[in-house]
Amino acid sequence: MNDAAYLRWQAIVERETLGEPISSDEREFRGDFEAEHPECAAETEAWSALLGALGGDMPEAEADDDLAAKILAAARSTSTSAGPFASARDAATTSAGPFASARDTATTSADHVPRASISSATSGTNATSTTSPPLASVHALAPRRPIAAIVGGLAAITAAAAALALWWSGAAEDEGPRPTIADADSTTPPAAHTAPPVKIPDAPTPLAEVEPVIVAMASPGRLQVDGVALGVGMSLGEGATIQADDGACLVFRGPFAAVCLGAGAEARITGARGGVREVALTRGRLVATLDPVGPGQSFTVTTSAGGARAIGTIFAVEVAGPTIDVGVVEGKIEVRKAGDAGAHPLIAGERTTMADPAVTSPLGGDLSTWSKGQAEISALWKGDADAAHLSIGEAKGLALAIDGVALPAQGELELLIAAGPHALTSRGARGEARTRTIVGDPAAPTRLGRAELGARAGSRPSAGEPPSVGSIPPSTPAPPEKPSIDELRRAAADARGDRRWQDAAAAYRSLVDAYPSTPEADNARYQLADLLRVRLGRPDAALEQFDAYLARGGPLAAEARVGKIRCLQALGRSDDEAAAIAEYLDRHPDHIEVDKFRKRARELAGR
């Protein structure tokens, strides 16, 4: 395999994509090439499957007599003074068929009712349900949704409910002229037999940016929100005051942010809309773990003595009486003392106090250890897999870890995990460990009692354990021979599936080292870079891999440039970041994130 072969394969594929014929020699070459390159084979298979699906719901050749009769009846019924085919024009105009039916009514209603109420219609309900969309959406949200989708869906519900309320409240008062479908789309007046056009109310105030905050981890009954105990998976919104008797974590989405509160902490969510998040910490400590935020977005923790504002980082704030400490584990933040106009930068490994943010010292001690532990836990909620509820009984004397992430020792614990298998390790006081697989099920909580958690010497389970609680397969053993591309890719994918990020990175490195000039190696470079940046928190190492990927080029060049920008941002290299953004905008002017990075470029230029 070499670059020339890959280019030949690509050229053949492009011609096929355009529907041009290929020779038998080319077909044979393509087959041989794909036999050695599973990614290329997968692409061809996927393409065929897509085309099959696009044409897969075709009717039989014979016509539908009922439908034909309807069409003929419509043609005849409209052959009157309005002209024989007025209904066809009207139907085309209103985008509904000319034959009124329950389904047509629902569709037409759904097209024309206020935006906020349409969610129920798109969920497959009938016209009558358009009056109660939030409830319809609530039911649609129930358990089988990704964590991201739960949050997004809740945002939609909030927005829909608020917008609907606004519409209802405004509809009675505002009877002024409004556009109709006919007005908007056609100069042809509706025929007499068609339904009157439905008025479109003015767009409600867009409240869709209000973000719910999801409880991702807490001890049962130990997290109070405005005086009410809240459990895992429930949401709270702007203005909520939180009291965490034990440690608890909350998750924002878009961009991801997790806030873990220490035992005894009290905080209030003072901002949660449009990516602008603000948490006021009044007691105790918290650690915020954030993905880089976009232009116009921010994450701020305020206290009585000042605030700390972050742009993609891990940082902690602790209020202990009059002393308020701030520490940065990763990235960079700005600390602003109350009453001061200027902000003081604080970078990874540093700590300061709100009383005198200009003075910094190395971050260490308990705050550092605790922050790093909480940040690791937060990584459990970064993915977009289905969310499952895990309930862990009191495990006195046992240290528990999921996928290598240590859980807090605080009695009973509930948390969200990604659906699917996870490695649960329990370690006793004498160091004996037991590792088992637990399976997160989005449909029902997974409950683990003392019996399931009990530690025994050795990490291998005994034979005959129940199927849902089995052994963790050992790490990929060193093969006696050089593994194939496919084997390495599978190893990486297995590790990713099990959230063993280091193992996945190692597999990708092996692939790059063993097969450096293959398209799979190019792809592995990108995956490795992505892992290093997102999962392993190593923007410096990720940057090297993104550069290596870009040096060879590939179909993910735009994504790689975005990754590079984010790395530079995380590293605080603003000048390099600006240059990388300029290159990205120049080379990928149609990419999905250009608007975001144009804004970011303006921000950087204004500094």
Binding site: L18, G19, A49, L54, A149, A156, R490
Partner: protein, 205 residues
């Protein structure tokens, strides 16, 4: 690529017969109308179902398109078959309705269901029936309408690039760009999301 479907064979032309038939249709002769509708309906449904994501929308489009064909019968000049003449009316009607539906659904989804693209449960079911892996279903849902149209017209309905360009009102190069962009996006998705891993395949099956 082996599964690419081609347009159904066009019957041997009967130019004079077709012209006579269309004259009668234009004169609103019921039997001629019935003959024409029955002759074209299967073909029209095939096209509208390929172009519109929801079956009910496709039925609507078939009705609207055939009524338009009946209405326009007087413009038939006999310079080709009725099928090829009507195809243009049908495709343009279906495309117009498809774009309108997408616009409508897009507006809905922006507001109410950010994690859904088309918001069409029926289309979802159709994709599931097609036994398409979940990742590919998501790709198809997210596929921009212009690229989807180009794919359907070229690879499902069998139009040439030039014909697709004419039907969609863009240049042939734009059609090629759309086809290649659809393929490129698929390649990016596969390489980005590990689509070929057997576990992923099982998960999505």
């Amino acid at each position: 690529m082996d599964k690419v479907k081609t347009r159904e064979p066009i019957r041997a032309p009967d130019v004079e017969g077709d012209r006579k038939l269309m004259e009668l249709v234009a004169a609103e002769d019921p039997r001629a109308q019935s003959t024409l509708v029955h002759r074209l309906l299967g073909r029209v449904q095939r096209a509208t179902r390929a172009l519109l994501r929801e079956r009910a929308d496709a039925e609507d489009a078939a009705q609207v398109a055939l009524l338009e064909v009946l209405r326009s019968a007087g413009s038939f000049r006999g310079e080709g078959t009725i099928e090829s003449w009507s195809d243009r009316i049908v495709i343009r009607t279906a495309l117009r309705l498809a774009r309108r539906r997408v616009t409508s659904h897009g507006r809905i989804d922006d507001r109410a269901e950010p994690d859904r693209i088309a918001g069409d449960d029926e289309a979802d079911a159709s994709l599931a029936r097609a036994d398409l892996p979940r990742d590919l279903q998501e790709y198809l849902r997210a596929l921009p309408e212009a690229r989807r149209e180009a794919l359907v017209l070229r690879h499902v309905l069998g139009y040439s690039v030039a014909e697709v360009a004419e039907l969609t009102g863009v240049s042939p190069n734009t059609v090629k760009d759309r086809l290649l962009a659809a393929r490129e996006e698929l390649r990016r998705m596969i390489r980005r999301d590990h689509l070929i891993h057997p576990r992923a395949a099982r998960k999505t099956a």
